[in-house]
Symmetry: C2
């Protein structure tokens, strides 16, 4: 059910694309990369990686191709890719990219590795960044299962945990656990910015709450702007949480319960891995993959006639 | 101007009191501790620390006395302390404690070490937790400078950076950099609590944004409840930040600027230490100490006729 894999292409060799190309090299999959910035390509070459002479060379010789460029550059790269090659991406918002890929007539499956650091650029890239990372692969009504399985097979061979879900479900989840935290980190940091005493007293809770505020502003702005509708829903939910908190401030027991709910969730996160289960590649696969993802599970290996899935052990929750 | 120091007493040997007693032992200051829970006292004795037989013994033999108990237990401990002994505390909200100490007629200076971990109890205590930590000592209209300097001298000999400010200014600052981050960590965690997919996708930004949500709920509830008025002001400020963010979502340049403001602040935090300066213990000292604190500075050493202060180097900000 999975297609034969050729040389894997990686367009864009910044933090994420560079880490992907390094990881492909570590596990021994034939792969080549390319970056718009020749200096970045030189860095990758100096690191012992294969780098294509041009975008056209890469597009002509690779299948599948991972596009690891900023979301603002996706349109230009998609225009240069052939329709019969499997294409995936690494951007943090999926509905917008799905629409764009369809407009270009690509054979597409959206992807999003849940890993990163506040650093950026090839110099910060490392194969270890992606080891064990959850990697969303979108499975929408118009996604061919064979395409999905091809890309999932590569990612699991890199040691990633492949999470199946629709583009819309992905975008709501990342607004909740990534984009909203970025917004709050920026707001907390800015609020303290004109208060030298507060900045002097700031300790562990501030350091951790604001770490991602050091991320490059244009990257954060792009992911929040691209996911504006889902982010607004999460901000509205946060406002309701803050109202509940304020109502409870005069009542120690109810206030403690507010924090106890979160403490139970956080103390059980991340949930331990549950046992491996096998899934046959049959006609129910699409529905079972989506149920796996919405339950917090992932695919850890793709074989010729079955795949291995893991559902987290949430008994502690 | 500073008083003669006797045996230092520490009431309450949990994470903070235990760390303080350990640190006093490491630097060789005579000190003894006591805890309401005999098992905790046994742990401290087994760690080679001096432990008093009773609260009354400690109160009769120590000066100054640090009270490191939960804010709900302060009233009971304060009632057992003599009025002529210097008393300080370690709780995270200062206006309420100041009022309580005055009601008991104590010779009091409020304190708050800006260090901690999500763990608690003597087992988690360590002398290193307090090394280099900022430690607020409140300097209110009714605080005797000699009392302030006595406690500041002990804390600087422990390697702490003593930050002078009024109780009200302290409470606003910690609402901003500690209590609000705790509230947001709980809200973000609870919002993801019923979404297994979101919890599976959660990575570094979620991990850091929610780390302090694992703190014991009753501790967080106590500090937020005790500082409710200042916390509400910070929540209102956060709401305005979120409104600004939502207005900017459709405009990439203005959205980038929202995150760029925070990025500049965070990239320059913590500010590097500036040069040491000397302060004579003269009649202007109170005003100069308060100016030092509001500028983000601290006292690093207290001598018989002068003290050494450090003002951070904010040129990068």
């Amino acid at each position: 059910m999975t297609a034969r894999i050729g040389v894997v292409g990686v367009v864009g060799l910044g933090l994420m694309g560079g880490s992907l190309l390094r990881r492909l090299a570590v596990v021994g999959l034939p792969a080549t990369g390319w970056d718009l910035d020749p200096a970045t390509g030189d860095l990758a070459t100096a690191a012992g990686l294969s780098v294509s002479a041009s975008m056209a060379d890469l597009a002509a010789g690779c299948d599948p191709i991972f596009v690891a460029v900023p979301s603002t550059a996706l349109n230009r790269v998609f225009a240069a890719l052939p329709p019969d090659v499997v294409v995936s991406d690494l951007t943090s918002v999926k509905q917008r990219v799905r629409t764009l890929a369809a407009a270009h007539g690509l054979t597409f499956v959206g992807g999003h590795p849940m890993a990163g650091t506040e650093a950026s650029g090839f110099a910060a890239a490392s194969a270890e960044l992606l080891a064990g990372a959850p990697w969303v692969l979108t499975l929408d009504d118009d996604t061919a299962l064979s395409t999905w399985l091809t890309v999932a097979g590569i990612l699991t061979s890199l040691g990633c945990r492949v999470v199946p879900c629709t583009s819309a479900v992905h975008d709501r989840a990342v607004a909740r656990v990534s984009h909203l935290p970025h917004v709050l980190a920026a707001a907390v940091t800015s609020a303290a910015g004109h208060d030298p005493l507060a900045l002097a007293l700031a300790a562990g809770s501030f350091r951790d709450a604001t770490r991602v505020a050091a991320t490059r502003p244009e990257l954060v702005a792009a992911m929040c702007g691209d996911n504006a509708e889902a982010l607004k829903i999460e901000i509205a939910a946060l406002r309701r949480h803050l109202e509940h908190l304020e109502e409870r401030l005069p009542d120690p027991d109810r206030l403690t319960e507010f924090f106890a709910v979160a403490q139970r969730v956080r103390a059980n996160w991340p949930p331990p891995a549950g046992p491996d289960t096998e899934m046959a590649l049959d006609e129910d696969l699409r529905a079972r993959l989506l149920a796996l993802g919405s339950g917090g599970g992932c695919v850890t290996r793709v074989g010729p006639d079955r795949l291995i899935a893991m559902v987290p052990d949430t008994r502690g929750t």
